[in-house]
Symmetry: C2
Subunit: 434 residues, 2 copies
Amino acid sequence: MSKPLKVALLGAGVVGSQVARIILKEGGTLESRIGRRLELVGIGVRNAATQRPGIDPALITTDLEGLVSRGDLDIVIELIGGIEPALGLLRTAIANGASVVSANKALLADYLGELSRDADARGVDLYYEAAVAGAIPIIRPLRESLVGDDITAVMGIVNGTTNYILDKMVTEQVSYDSALAEAQQLGYAEADPTADVEGHDAAAKAAILAGLAFHTEVKREEVFCEGITSVTPDDIAAAELMGCTVKLLAIAKLTDDDRVIVKVHPAMVANKHPLASVSGAYNAIFVNSREAGELMFLGQGAGGAPTASAVMGDVVTVARNRHRGTAGHLGSAYTARQVAPIGESQAQFYVSFEVVDRPGVLARCAAVFGDHGVSLRVVQQSYIEGGERREGFAARLGVMTHVTQETNLSAVVEELGRADFVGSEIRVMRVEGF
Amino acid sequence: MSKPLKVALLGAGVVGSQVARIILKEGGTLESRIGRRLELVGIGVRNAATQRPGIDPALITTDLEGLVSRGDLDIVIELIGGIEPALGLLRTAIANGASVVSANKALLADYLGELSRDADARGVDLYYEAAVAGAIPIIRPLRESLVGDDITAVMGIVNGTTNYILDKMVTEQVSYDSALAEAQQLGYAEADPTADVEGHDAAAKAAILAGLAFHTEVKREEVFCEGITSVTPDDIAAAELMGCTVKLLAIAKLTDDDRVIVKVHPAMVANKHPLASVSGAYNAIFVNSREAGELMFLGQGAGGAPTASAVMGDVVTVARNRHRGTAGHLGSAYTARQVAPIGESQAQFYVSFEVVDRPGVLARCAAVFGDHGVSLRVVQQSYIEGGERREGFAARLGVMTHVTQETNLSAVVEELGRADFVGSEIRVMRVEGF
């Protein structure tokens, strides 16, 4: 009978404690799937004093560097998040010959290429299914199932916190601030919600998805990123009038000249599009590819047990490879596609602004769009009631454009801003799914 | 520079011709993803005289056995379908040291276990993503992503022909026969539609899914199978009244005592369930697992290019392994779970029958259900119009039950059949998604 595979776990928080539970409960199930037993030899944590029911205190250590340097480890599972000390620990683990499993999107968004090359050179595995969209299998489908096809676009809801807040704003007609406060009370948003609400978390995932989909390296800083903090109840109401729901989307697209656009922003999503009805803690990812057409993946995007499911899928895969004395293929040779600036991105837009009540104003507004090559799909005009009416501005125009380039739209907005018949606030939101 | 990997293709039909096109168009893309060039060395076909634009006639051969026996092949792609000669050809290919990729659900439903053991013993790969649900990545997610979790149920729409026919019956209120005739005219159904409409194709896929999900071997003959040939416009209308849509489902569930239920049958699916709105050529698969919860996979279930996408994902994966001198893990040690008889399956049911117009009949009907431990969720009574009214039977009862065991329901139907206040035809349909 062969020796068990030695596993070290870094982090015992929401996800780590579930992973520890699954490995420790083991009654032979994982062994039958791997061909070898897993032995959890250590759990690296920040605070050893925390109560951890069901976990032998002898496994706990605060010396994480010491743990990953043991030299006899087969697998290191990194669930502490953030750049350091996670990056240093993973480098040490790989250098010492361990295969690694990580759920760390922030780290992988910037260091996936480097860590992949390290792992490849050392002949060990690097798996990270849990880094994007929790329990949803999306990394393997991109890395393997669709690798003989050409992906043209990936679009998804990949952040549960913002999805919950936007949901509340739609269903309960509350402001962003009250929706956020409620999410914080219920533990769906952190005390400092910046990473979620400013779109940074989604942007890290977008970078990983874009890199995999287009066989290139995309860094977090190359992702255009706009959060949900400035979404207003008026935006939500305008979306409803247009038959849309506001969602925070992560989008990666291939341009006609073979460059990559990667962006995170709130968007009006057509209600008939399946992403519009993905609510609460669910994540969903759409993939378009040349041969396969449209594919969708849906599931729970966060939470201890769902994320642990994805981590354990990687652990078993890596352990199987280890047991067979091999390592999985780490991906394609990079094609080094350029990331195009957001200005060259193509999209539909919804633009809303106040206008003075004067003959010919609608025609003059339409001319501004036309002059910049932006054609209009829908124009809605609504009159502003007495109390809310500002000096001279009697009506509000809501305009949905056909697909156009961002730079064209910016030129339109700039010109409208200079026009004396247009109010000072011009609101713009991107539109998807028509 | 390393030698190219030698690939043989068996079959050049709808899918095979697309696979050939993708390999032959190759301008370095696949090579960059694999690390080695693919060389298509032969295409085995039944009729060499068929015109095949873009394919060098020198590649074509009708000696399939000779092709797979060459001994220098790295990969054999089997797309001819059916049991023989496909089975013999795959055995020969594996015995000669080639890795194999197959989309042959009929074959794999019965021979997956055996071929996996052969491949494992020979140190080669066996991949078959395209065998279930066309372009949708479902095999890898079950085989790898969810392998550290415990799947409890898989439920899906996995046959496009029957989905198209049922769609037509719903949207155009036509009979099964006219919907089938239209599907045949448009090429969505074959001249002999038996394999699709009797559920055999879906049953083969269900056997494969169940085996993977539950780490056991399930043979095609162990799958309970009921097709759509006896679905009537009345069933469709009754479903609509209950807020449901009729779909042909493939279902694999784990029972409380760790056995497996595998079945294919038409079912009323609650409209709020995402499977209810999966239409036309799309397939969708729901997976329930202990840790990850609910997952859904959606995409095109058939067609040349979508299926070729799945085949090519396997080809690249297998080629990468080949290039690295390894083979992927072929799956779990089988746990040899028993397949439970359909009678022990738990489900909700919709039962519809005519009753005489006599005081106390409704109570007597309800008592029949109650006597067999079947509790009722909804009871609908409708009066039958003069012209359609049969001697003595004035009303029709439509009853949706709570979850119960099939044997209990059968006992109810048998007793109702003997009752003088019940008409001769008792229609039963299973219900899912509430």
